[in-house]
């Protein structure tokens, strides 16, 4: 009954998400190594980082899809890493998740995908659900695609359906895993605008994972960069977009500018390469 005590403590009300000393080890390799951050109500918190640095892993832990090796994650003041399935379900009704690869139900149409959370968790009648589905599709620029199967639309469209589904129950908190990767510049802007509308107008708090710098700076109110390579698992920088831009960290600057030369390694060093080739690395 640990979680009861933690809820009754009533943390400062505007902290929606609090991550403490989060560690995730795969095999022996720490992918996340002591991550700490907080997200406040109304923020759009962007998590940046190179491919394979652990962004999806972090999100999966945040939504309770996977238990971390150690550390805690409090959402709405409740520890999601120790919550019982029943408590988890209650918390999950208050947030939406947009998966990196959409995770749409292949056997259902686009419309049914978006309608599912409504059918399962609200008592409204079918005609109203149909209307909400139309509204959500309009929101992501997919009016008229209700009856298409996920396999019949493009990857970018699938991502937008995933977003519409995540927003179906009007959540207080939205998690979005690379919502704009694979989208053309116009659709990237559309999805960014949608995130902005949800956060700035409706007051949804958003945690967005992305490695698209333009889009990061367009939507973020605060950002965090996860390290990779020699800095795997640690937080490289955290702050407002202005602070991040001004941060002199060479690792961060290389990432923002998208340069091939810099501290971010994409090849082994000369010595390591030799060792690897000779088979004792």
């Amino acid at each position: 009954m640990k979680s009861t005590t933690s809820t009754s403590k009533n943390p400062p009300s505007d902290i929606i998400l609090e991550v403490k000393n989060l560690v995730q080890v795969y095999g022996k390799r720490p992918v996340l190594n002591g991550i700490n951050f907080q997200v406040r109500k109304g923020e759009t918190f962007v998590i940046m980082g190179g491919s394979g640095c652990g962004k999806t892993t972090l999100l999966r832990i945040l939504i309770g899809a996977q238990r971390p090796t150690s550390g805690s994650v409090h959402i709405f003041g409740e520890d999601i890493t120790t919550a019982s399935p029943q408590e988890l379900d209650r918390i999950r009704l208050r947030f939406g998740m947009n998966f990196q690869f959409g995770a749409l139900f292949q056997s259902m149409t686009v419309g049914e995908n978006i309608a599912l959370p409504l059918q399962e968790h609200s008592q409204v009648d079918p005609s109203l659900i149909e209307m909400v589905v139309k509204m959500k599709l309009e929101l992501v620029g997919l009016t008229g695609f209700e009856n298409f199967k996920p396999s019949e639309i493009s990857g970018g469209m699938r991502k937008r359906v995933g977003l519409a589904r995540a927003l179906a129950l009007d959540p207080e908190l939205l998690f979005s895993d690379e919502p704009t990767s694979g989208l053309d510049p116009v659709m990237t802007a559309v999805v960014d605008q949608l995130t902005l509308d949800s956060t700035r107008k409706i007051g949804v708090t958003a945690v967005v994972v992305s490695h698209d710098m333009t889009s990061c700076f367009r939507i973020a109110t605060r950002m965090l960069m996860l390290g990779s390579g020699s800095r795997q698992g640690e937080i490289v920088a955290e702050g407002t977009p202005a602070e991040i831009k001004a941060n002199p960290d060479p690792f961060l600057q290389q990432f923002i500018r998208g340069e091939a030369d810099g501290p971010i390694p994409f090849r082994l060093s000369q010595d390591d390469y030799l060792k690897h080739l000779l088979g004792d690395g």
């Binding site: 939504i63 309770g64 899809a65 019982s84 399935p85 029943q86 988890l88 379900d89 209650r90 999950r92 009704l93 998740m97 998966f99 690869f101 995770a103 749409l104 139900f105 292949q106 056997s107 599912l116 959370p117 399962e120 968790h121």
Partner: protein, 258 residues
């Protein structure tokens, strides 16, 4: 009662035993609430995994009827006991071959399909998406399939028994010169009700083994397409294995112990 049921459904883990516990938990829970057992979804699954297996099941049953009649006529004919062929065909179908062979056909036809379907959903993160939407995958995916098969397999078995008898009749009438009325009288009068019921109990047990194995294998897929392939194979192999073992146990129980 309700509270204990809730705690039961909230036990964590992924074992096969736990899947069974969850299935029974949800069905009990569903009896008290209307939105857990969705009739339209159950009906859809009955058509997909039951009705669509009908042609194959009939073909198998018909062949088995032929085989039984032909094989027994060669031996019983020597003893001049051809008149027992209808009894033998109908008894072996009802007690043994009907339930077993229909179950094996449905494993191959529908068990593999269920394992592959749920496994693909697992790989595609759809199961994860269900969980994140606070929709328990066992309730949403497993329960309709479970109930559908528990209803359909015994029905298919009864149907298969009839088709098999027709096969036996065809052989007897065409090559042994038996009259139709003679065949029907013997085939229907000889078996007792218990012969029919024991077969149906078997087919209910087989249905349980079949669908839980298929769903369990599907839900435990790891990795990509290769994982789905492995799960499908495992579902078929283990389901058939356990069905045959259960058959041996039940036959022993029904005809030697009771």
């Amino acid at each position: 009662m309700k509270f204990s049921l809730q705690t039961l459904l909230n036990v964590e883990g992924n074992g096969y035993g736990l899947l069974n516990v969850r299935i029974f938990g949800w069905i009990l829970y569903g009896l008290t609430r209307r939105d857990v057992l969705v009739p339209s979804e159950i009906l859809r699954q009955m058509i997909r995994i039951g009705v669509q297996a009908l042609p194959m099941a009939s073909l198998v049953a018909l062949s088995v009827g032929f085989i039984l009649a032909m094989q027994s006529s060669t031996e019983l004919g020597k003893l001049g006991a051809n008149s027992f062929i209808p009894d033998l065909v109908s008894l072996s179908l009802m007690r043994e071959l009907g339930p077993l062979l229909i179950a094996i056909i449905v494993v191959g036809r529908s068990g593999s399909a269920v394992a592959a379907e749920i496994g693909t959903m697992k790989v595609n993160e759809e199961i994860e998406a269900l969980r994140v939407m606070a929709i328990p995958p066992v309730r949403y995916l497993v329960i309709p399939r479970y109930i559908a098969l528990m209803i359909m397999l015994p029905c298919l078995t009864i149907f298969g028994n009839c088709v098999g008898l027709a096969g036996g009749w065809a052989v007897c009438a065409s090559t042994l010169g038996m009259t139709t009325s003679f065949f029907i009288e013997h085939a229907v009068h000889r078996p007792e009700l218990w012969d029919l019921y024991s077969g149906l109990i078997k087919s209910v047990v087989f249905a349980h083994i079949l669908i839980t194995t298929a769903c369990y294998q599907g839900l435990s897929v790891e990795g990509g397409a290769d994982g789905v392939g492995r799960a499908t194979t495992n579902a078929v192999v283990y389901a058939i294995l356990w069905i045959i073992i259960a058959d041996a146990l039940l036959t022993g129980l029904f005809f030697f112990v009771l």
